[in-house]
């Protein structure tokens, strides 16, 4: 079995402004690069204060990275993954809320999103260590949450969690709360270019804008955007190539024609999850759009399937210049 890692250049956010009065900060966490622009023009913050705000957000991301990473041997998730089904594990309020959110989103996406996909990542060779047999295993109800005792218990020893499809969106939602608390009115944050949060306006008093392909721009005033690609990481086995996105309903790598799915939503966590779910199950676009969100699916770059009740998508016949 051979795995190949390829970069995932899902989206190229381009704040449409003069960046001179913004304080950019970038850092590596959650397997990607986060970049932040804090608007100093419209808030009562000095440049040093803006940098301090960015550092505080970095601390928040590092904190959750340490808790949720499957690559940190003593993270809470790694401890869960090592535990057996009889073990009742305590949860603090922050974690309980996260698990509850994941449970709700699993239901909302009809099982196309499931944090127990870590089980499948392991079984199909996307994780280090021996593959585990999936015989007789169901991940439909991977754990039991006890709201009274604030505990979580696996339903099967083999269940392994992976928050990869929601972690960045989840921390972006926390960042939004923190920024609001600090009085920051204008900010643009992205994690790995695939999870984006835009608060307020850019320097030109316009909505922050991200491009998601040639000629397609998305206005993101107060909204978040999640982008998923089905084939950013692949593994080949017996001459067949599989994408890294798992379909929890079939317990196998997802197989469909969607190359990229984009979701714009008020919640960054939901945006991330819905974009992943649509990669797994494109037919969800009709049912998920009952939420106030915009969904764009790309089978190829030229003809996106678009559902845009938010009216945030702008399609131009002229290619934009890449201003990187």
């Amino acid at each position: 079995m051979h795995s190949t890692l390829t970069p995932a250049p899902c989206v190229h956010p381009k704040p449409e402004n003069n960046l001179d009065s913004y304080s950019p900060l970038s850092f590596e966490a959650m397997g990607c690069r986060f970049e932040m622009l804090i608007g100093s023009e419209h808030a009562s913050l000095s440049r040093a204060d803006c940098a301090a705000v960015c550092e505080q957000m970095r601390g928040l991301v590092f904190d959750w990275h340490a808790r949720l990473s499957v690559f940190e041997p003593n993270s809470i998730v790694s401890q869960f993954n090592r535990a057996n089904a009889a073990k009742e594990l305590p949860l603090d309020d922050d974690l309980f809320d996260l698990y509850s959110l994941c449970d709700r989103l699993r239901t909302r996406t009809e099982g196309a999103f499931n944090i127990a996909s870590g089980t499948l990542m392991q079984a199909h060779g996307f994780r280090e260590g021996a593959a585990r047999c999936l015989d007789g295993l169901s991940i439909e109800e991977p754990f039991v949450l006890d709201a009274t005792r604030r505990t979580i218990t696996k339903t099967d020893d083999r269940i392994m969690l992976d928050f990869g499809a929601i972690a960045k969106g989840f921390v972006l939602d926390l960042i939004r709360v923190e920024l609001d608390d600090l009085g920051v009115t204008d900010a643009f944050v992205h994690g790995g270019t695939s999870s984006v949060l835009a608060i307020g306006q850019d320097h030109n008093l316009q909505a922050w804008t991200s491009r998601i392909g040639d000629g397609i721009a998305v206005s993101l005033q107060g909204m978040a955007m999640g982008v998923s690609e089905g084939d950013s990481r692949v593994i080949s086995e017996n001459g067949r190539v599989y994408g890294h996105v798992m379909d929890p309903r079939t317990m196998c790598p997802a197989s469909n024609s969607i190359r990229r799915a984009v979701c714009v939503h008020s919640s960054a966590a939901a945006a991330d999850v819905y974009s992943t779910a649509c990669c797994v199950s494109p037919d969800l676009i009709a049912r998920l759009s009952t939420d106030p969100c915009t969904l764009i699916l790309f089978e190829d770059e030229s003809s996106p399937i678009l559902h845009d009740p938010l009216g945030v998508v702008h399609i131009s016949s002229e290619d934009h210049h890449d201003r990187d």
Binding site: A52, E55, P73, N74, L91, D93, F96, L182, G183
Partner: protein, 409 residues
């Protein structure tokens, strides 16, 4: 014996055992302890450091964070979200009066340590106190005196002393691996503003005590103390004089606490420890180095390396030791718990500690409570290191040579 068998034998026995045998003071990696009953801990001060302490305490079997305390309501609320079922308190007096705790971990600002620590020690609970120990020498003495008659285990958070890599490296140092000690250096470089943001001016002033020269001992005191103690612990000596300088070289925001410093701590026998720190550049991060005539030791908190001179005597196990290249130098990786890992064929997996240093300090404290033994770092040791840090800051701020007076501790 085949080559592979021989290599395996050497790796699993000679190399690992040599590392262990040279380190009589190295505690068992993993810090087994046996508490009679759940240790109920209250955490005082739940800013970033306090919340980290809460997270690390959560990893230790038999420990439960049952209460959190902070005078800042927002921090108290975020702390409570990290300790399900815990009770919140806005004062230490209220926390201690609740009668629900056996132990307290203190992570409040340095200048508040005396008041908090003395009250907790007098209440008879076990206390873990973050370092630097206090803001002034008088405060250090007050805490030290209170600790002397304490019924509980009072541990100070000079984390090098409980860090498995540092314990291992100290064994090498004290077994003469570096031979004649020539010089010592340490640095702490981080790109950070040192500002805690808030849009409430009163709250901002309270949170940003590190930038207030009346409440802060600057980079030498707040950061240097942890690192100075490594040298005290390794050499068994304290510097007697310090000279230094510093300035605000980068942050033009009106601050007066230096963002960049350098100092030289001098020992009685002529040995010198050079230290520098900055908030403007992160290159090299935080580390300590010992230069000897046979070898140098570099310590980076989660990692440690031994760099041998070409003419230093070779020991058999070194051939199979894990190594790391640094430009023209090759370091032998110091791996805590090498014997056990080698037996499992997992020596390389032991490179780097799986937990942050504060975990081992807390684990050592809990183990001391369970065993009734002494913690790795006593309050007196922490008081001495803190006074060294305070003196270094005085030298940097005044530009004068300062005699380090450890009398009274």
């Amino acid at each position: 014996m085949t080559e592979i068998d021989r290599r395996m034998f050497l790796t699993r026995t000679t190399g690992g055992l040599a590392a262990m045998a040279l380190v009589p003071e190295l505690k068992a990696f993993g810090g087994a302890h046996l508490l009679d009953q759940t240790l109920r801990v209250g955490v005082v001060g739940v800013g970033r450091q306090g919340r980290e302490i809460m997270g690390e305490l959560g990893k230790i079997a038999g420990v439960s964070v049952v209460a959190v305390c902070d005078v800042d309501e927002r921090r108290l609320n975020s702390g409570l979200r990290r300790a399900s079922g815990a009770k919140g308190h806005s004062s230490v007096t209220e926390l201690l009066a609740s009668g629900t705790i056996d132990a307290v971990a203190v992570a409040t600002p340095t200048h508040t340590h005396r008041e908090v620590a003395v009250e907790c020690i007098k209440a008879g609970v076990h206390v873990y106190l973050e370092c630097p120990l206090a803001h002034t020498k008088d405060d250090c003495i007050a805490i030290s005196e209170a600790a002397r008659s304490a019924p509980g285990v009072i541990a100070a958070g000079l984390q090098g002393r409980s860090n498995p890599v540092y314990q291992l490296a100290r064994g090498f140092f004290r077994s003469d691996s570096v031979r004649k000690l020539i010089s010592m250096r340490a640095q702490n470089n981080r790109k950070t503003t040192w500002i805690t943001p808030s849009n409430d001016p009163v709250r901002k002033a309270a949170l940003n005590w590190k930038l207030d020269p009346l409440r802060s001992n600057g980079l030498a005191g707040e950061w240097g103390t942890q690192q100075f103690d490594v040298f005290h612990w390794y050499t068994g000596k304290y510097p007697t004089r310090v000279v230094g300088n510093g300035g605000v070289r980068f942050y033009e925001d009106g601050r007066t606490v230096h963002d960049t410093i350098a100092c030289s701590l001098m020992f009685e026998n002529g040995e010198t420890l050079g230290y520098d720190a900055t908030l403007a550049n992160s290159y090299g991060g935080k580390h300590e180095k010992f230069f000897g005539s046979n070898a140098a030791i570099k310590l980076g908190w989660s990692h440690g390396w031994l760099f041998k001179e070409a003419d230093a005597p070779t020991q058999g196990w070194e051939v199979y030791a894990n190594r790391q290249q640094f430009h023209n130098d090759e370091g032998i990786t110091l791996i805590a718990g090498a014997t056990k890992l080698a037996e499992q064929g997992k020596l390389k997996e032991g490179v780097g500690l799986p937990n942050p240093s504060v975990y081992y300090a807390l684990e050592d404290w809990v183990a001391s409570i369970a065993s009734g033994g002494s913690p790795a770092c006593s309050i007196d040791e922490a008081a001495r290191a803190t006074v060294v840090g305070i003196s270094a800051n005085d030298a940097i701020v005044t530009g004068k040579t300062v005699d380090i007076d450890l009398g009274g501790i």
